[in-house]
Symmetry: C2
Subunit: 335 residues, 2 copies
Amino acid sequence: MTRVRLTDVAARAGVSMKTVSNVVHHHPHVSPAMRARVQEAIDELGYRPNLTARRLATGRTGMIALAMPEIDHPYFSELSRSIAEVAAEMGYRVLIEQTLGEAEAERAVIMDREAGLVDGVIFHPVSMTTVEIGKLRRDLPLVLLGESARPLTTDHVMIDNVQAARDGTELLRRTGRRIAFLGTVSHDVTGSTAQRLHGYQEALELAGVPGDTSLVLETGGFRVEDARAALSAALARGLDIDAVLCRDDRFAIGALQALAEAGLSVPDDVAVLGWDDTHLATISTPTLSSIAPDKRGIARIALELLIERIGGHQGVGRHRIAPHGIEQRQSTAGR
Amino acid sequence: MTRVRLTDVAARAGVSMKTVSNVVHHHPHVSPAMRARVQEAIDELGYRPNLTARRLATGRTGMIALAMPEIDHPYFSELSRSIAEVAAEMGYRVLIEQTLGEAEAERAVIMDREAGLVDGVIFHPVSMTTVEIGKLRRDLPLVLLGESARPLTTDHVMIDNVQAARDGTELLRRTGRRIAFLGTVSHDVTGSTAQRLHGYQEALELAGVPGDTSLVLETGGFRVEDARAALSAALARGLDIDAVLCRDDRFAIGALQALAEAGLSVPDDVAVLGWDDTHLATISTPTLSSIAPDKRGIARIALELLIERIGGHQGVGRHRIAPHGIEQRQSTAGR
DNA sequence: ATGAAAGCGCTAACAG
DNA sequence: CTGTTAGCGCTTTCAT
């Protein structure tokens, strides 16, 4: 049951390893007769090159690791798919890792756990700080995603969260005056929420609207239920709003639930805008408008940077902004 | 920028490779003094073992491939997570592959594309037939998931779809008489739908209810929208039902939409039961009851079978049934 | 308890 | 255009 090796094929075809190798790699300078003979031996023996051995010999694995907090979260699974597909176009395969946002798992990612297994890593940190990443990282090519940490030494891709939040807020301002922000999570360690809140505030200031802290809703956690509860409670307290900008699509789903329970119609009474443009936005009732990070764009930029690093590019960390848009659906119809 | 190797550490510590290897592997018979000296050299040099080289030497990769139709589909991403987590407990890492259900990609999975890269493969086929899989598969350890194909030579894990459909139908029958099935997709190549429909029919027959083909709703595709449209059209034609058993959670979401549009209340007028128990079921309004395959259980069984095969187990394909349940939420409240 | 040396299967100089 | 050979970095007998 021992596997067929290159030498077995060579012996069978009565040629050297090099010739077999040339055939396997579709090298040009092989006589057709030779090629046919070798191919026959390959087929008869059912030869498959051993990828591990090839990697060791070439020093190139053709694989990159992608480390994300949760592989089954809608945004991350959709982004993973984009990255895997774009990587395939660029000749790489992707090893998907889940950190669950745990510090230890994140540290393992940075500290060359994948030594010699992958050519580089794309990493979306949650709990590691900028300082920590800068300090612990090895010389493994690395590109960071998301907004929580950005060491000066490391490449980084994100969307402009502040601008996106401004765009969203301005959209909602077109027909409404009182725009809520849902939500700031207590003890949120991710920088995303802060940036989004910041953009929301900027847009209001630019519009000459006085800040109103009662419009900023804090949730107890990241679940849909937490968002629903936060908005429900606020509505019960008499909160009066025309629209709500949500931190992500899950929170927006919670908002739709809370508004429905309160007997408010979306979008007629209150408009709702989500964030991430995941598949959730297309299946809710009403369908959900959502700030849409360009996932393919993020994937492409991250891979380009990473592949340059793999190719030997040195220098300080580059900071790239990926495009975003707003996918308009029913929940903001008329805006 | 050349990496630190085992020999570098050995030279630095003034010992042989073997001793360093013993330390790295936490072998028992190493004197504490020696261990300390070697560890110091490892730390100073920042040595990380090259995993590719280790793999080539040991012949074991410690990695398995998981090939699924779509990595961002709720059911598959959740199942992937379970498999990755259980695999980690068992000392394996998972390389996730996406086939998009394409015949060519599926064939590549079977035909040792991963040669020497992984120790085995867990594969959820969609378009490959039983015969084709039996014919094309190499000697790479393989476990199949899902219900579409089951060659006699290959291990296979699934839930009892027929029984699960009976269970679901019986639950719905407790308070309703007219139970619809949504949906059979035109040209559905997966066996799942047929089995589920079969279980539904069996349950009705056992209850002495005459079959009624007007209750079996065919959809034009696998999207939420297809399901919504199918049920809407049926309701518009005057279809009168007490409950609907859905082929999967996405179809159930579509059913909720169609019922809401028709002014029917769930669960009071019509109960809805989904299938797969994905996160979608927890965020819909009302929340969705769903037939729940035990994803951890599937993962555990699949990995146990695969690891036995990796360990050299020979013999005919084993056919294992994983447990299922029904997660009851609002959409069937009162049943 | 530690060292020396022979592979694991493939690639890539370098010859011929 | 084809063959020979020396590694890639690690594990693993077999000695000592």
